[in-house]
Symmetry: C2
């Protein structure tokens, strides 16, 4: 019988705990969660705030649903130190708990905080934001940061009828995708009324307004910082090996310390394409970590697949952008095309833009990105599979795709890629 | 300079001709087409009949658009014989045309015909059906055959306000898919008002009615036979090797006779999974044949991917069904799951049913089928890629999919398959 202690009851920690206890009924699993919720999902929170999803989409399971499975879940309990030599943790209630194996699943926290600003990294944050924007006196919202959460929150706030501004330091949203491919996203932003300040930085934060580096003043009733996250590791960085603030693990989630594992948003992933460290704090990856650690299976890394949306415009991508590929020394080129789930002659037909980054020398796909309306992620998933299997572009023509006018185009983007590259 | 003669101006023939002349400007290409249209697409015809698509979706290019590229296109001209020793063809105008290479792209024709019944295998047929159903006196339609064309025509006729009956000899529509997976299709059929007679055969065809084998009498104003197609090869079967009425070609589309090639709906394909002959008369395959013959590239066969739809219900599949796999001696089992392009908590979320046929002994995917609402074909295309690359199920967990609540579920069907099989 092993005594397993898990720090953190988010997606990674609870997926691990559930799977582990299923397979090892004789073990004991104790989960310490400093917040009040466990197994919460971060990605649906913007849609909970806009009321498109109810709270059940964010927190779908109670603490009791886990304790009834034999997992000892202790919410509102923080771990304040770890003794790796004597193998115990200490709680904020000064309790000492010994472990045979320790799993760090502490997740991430905002990069940057301010007293009068909201951030969004757990269900309690989401509840506070929702309450604030549903207050009638809240009319103007300012979001700083135009990543996934920033853009999804902007949609959410606009749906709630707010006057919304978004400030992003980069000159582009989704800088990994080329301008041509995402112009429909910018059109939609304009149409939605979102005031988008790109290539701008806040130089002064004040109680009800900010000043940008071009002296623009933006008033707000609510300010949300969505400037990114970093591992929530605090003192843990003195216990296990880290790199730039992220925990370093091997393919079996071992940290540098024996019997201490780390999973989820606190660890570095390996890019399976190039082998370099990438930080990819995403719910689906955290889930997968938890699942694989419990199964004692190797995790080969990711190729940085992602998806997001802004109203009906969907965005997805995988792998390296053209710019990144070139920096890494690849002889890379961009191949542009469209993808659609309907014959283009249908009145309601809408096309996705697709761009594929190609390794000319090695006849391989390096990345694929799409912005559009339907099945955007599912088209990119096809490219992600091809990347993971290192399928040569010369081989693509022999893949047999599903075709009918109401389902697809005669030539799937994967086949179009072949035609455009092989000629 | 080579003189190329092409018999048949459909998708395969015109794709070949266009690609060939692009690469071999010094060659001459003559296309003989017995109908009045070339490069027409068969798959959109049901939607042209329902007026969802205009005629441009069926015939998007004129004869002149090809002649201007240097292809000598002769419509309304039938080839009546081929002399393979002296290498010439004879037209119905008694003209003798010599060739260096002959490409047979004659397409398919209905399996079964009757004087008072319509069939749908070219744009002229589609025009006739459309004219007939738009006549006010046409109120009752009967379709015999519940394959792709039968079911798509049924939708088309119902959209036009007709009272529609469909008779199918098989006890199921899409017999390759299990009952559980397609029950939403049957629900939709019921709701749409289509009278579906399954496991029934017509024993007597009459002017305005038919009698089924259970003595049911069905009246009609229009009768359409959609009982399937066969290669339109007539005399050609005495010239090149055939098997069960289909032309046999190798991976470079060579027939049994030197310098005679065959492509499109008149040839057998090879199932790249098992190596057996399969007849797959589909527009996308015909296009691919034409493209590959012109490029002198190997065609490795198909794994029988298909798609169709009935109103908003979409159907797609690839590979072997459970029953087929078992017959072929595989230790096969069925794994059922759902797939969706949205978090299930969204009010508008709809799930696709997905079933995957697994080769238990070899840890491989044998087939995948889905019926549902969004991205049905694009999910199945992911499985088709995995089948074509013979990816082991053990490997699937390490594929990185695009996730966000508005694009997908946390666990893509490919990952669910891993979880359900590997456990």
């Amino acid at each position: 019988m092993n005594k397993i202690v898990v720090i953190g009851g988010g997606a990674a920690g609870m997926m691990f705990s559930t799977q582990h206890i299923r397979k090892n009924k004789e073990d004991s699993v104790i989960v310490f969660e400093k917040g009040e919720y466990v197994a919460w999902a971060g990605c649906p929170t913007p849609y909970y705030i806009s009321s498109s999803l109810d709270f059940g989409a964010v927190v779908s399971r109670t603490v009791e649903s886990f304790t009834s499975k034999g997992i000892d879940v202790r919410v509102n309990t923080e771990i304040v130190s770890v003794n790796k030599d004597e193998k115990y943790v200490v709680t904020d209630k000064n309790e000492k708990v010994y472990y045979d194996k320790l799993v760090i699943a502490v997740g991430a926290k905002p990069n940057f905080k301010l007293d009068n600003a909201y951030t969004l990294s757990n269900p309690s944050d989401a509840k506070k934001i929702k309450e604030k924007i549903e207050d009638r006196s809240t009319k103007k919202a300012l979001i700083v940061g135009g990543g996934f959460i920033g853009i999804e929150l902007a949609e959410s706030f606009i749906e709630k009828g707010l006057d919304v501004s978004l400030v992003e330091a980069n000159s582009e949203l989704f800088p990994i995708i080329s301008k041509n491919t995402k112009d429909i996203l910018y059109d939609r932003i304009k149409e939605s009324g979102l005031k988008c300040y790109l290539a701008k930085k806040v130089t002064s934060f004040n109680d009800n307004y900010v000043i940008l580096d071009d002296d623009t003043k933006i008033d707000f009733d609510i300010l949300v910082l969505a400037t990114g996250v970093k591992p929530n590791i605090d003192f843990i960085s003195q216990i296990v090996e880290t790199k730039d603030g992220k925990i370093v693990v091997d393919k079996h989630f071992n940290t540098s310390v024996k019997d201490i594992y780390a999973i989820g948003d606190s660890v570095y992933n390996i890019n399976r394409m190039g082998g370099e460290y990438i930080y990819q704090p995403q719910g689906d990856i955290a889930n997968k970590h938890g699942y694989l650690l419990a199964a004692n299976k190797e995790f080969k890394g990711t190729n940085r697949s992602f998806a997001s949306s802004y109203f009906e415009i969907k965005v997805a991508g995988t792998g390296y952008s053209l710019e990144e590929a070139k920096k890494l020394g690849y002889n890379a080129k961009l191949v542009e095309m469209t993808g659609a789930t309907k014959n283009s002659h249908f009145k309601e037909a809408k096309e996705n833009k697709v761009e594929v980054v190609v390794d000319v020398d090695n006849n391989l796909i390096l990345g694929a990105f799409s912005v559009g309306y339907d099945a955007v992620a599912q088209f990119i998933d096809q490219f992600s599979i091809l990347i993971s299997q290192k399928v040569k572009i010369d081989e693509l023509i022999n893949i047999d795709f599903c075709y009918s006018p109401t389902n697809s185009t005669v030539w799937n983007p994967v086949l179009v890629l072949y035609r455009k590259v092989v000629k």
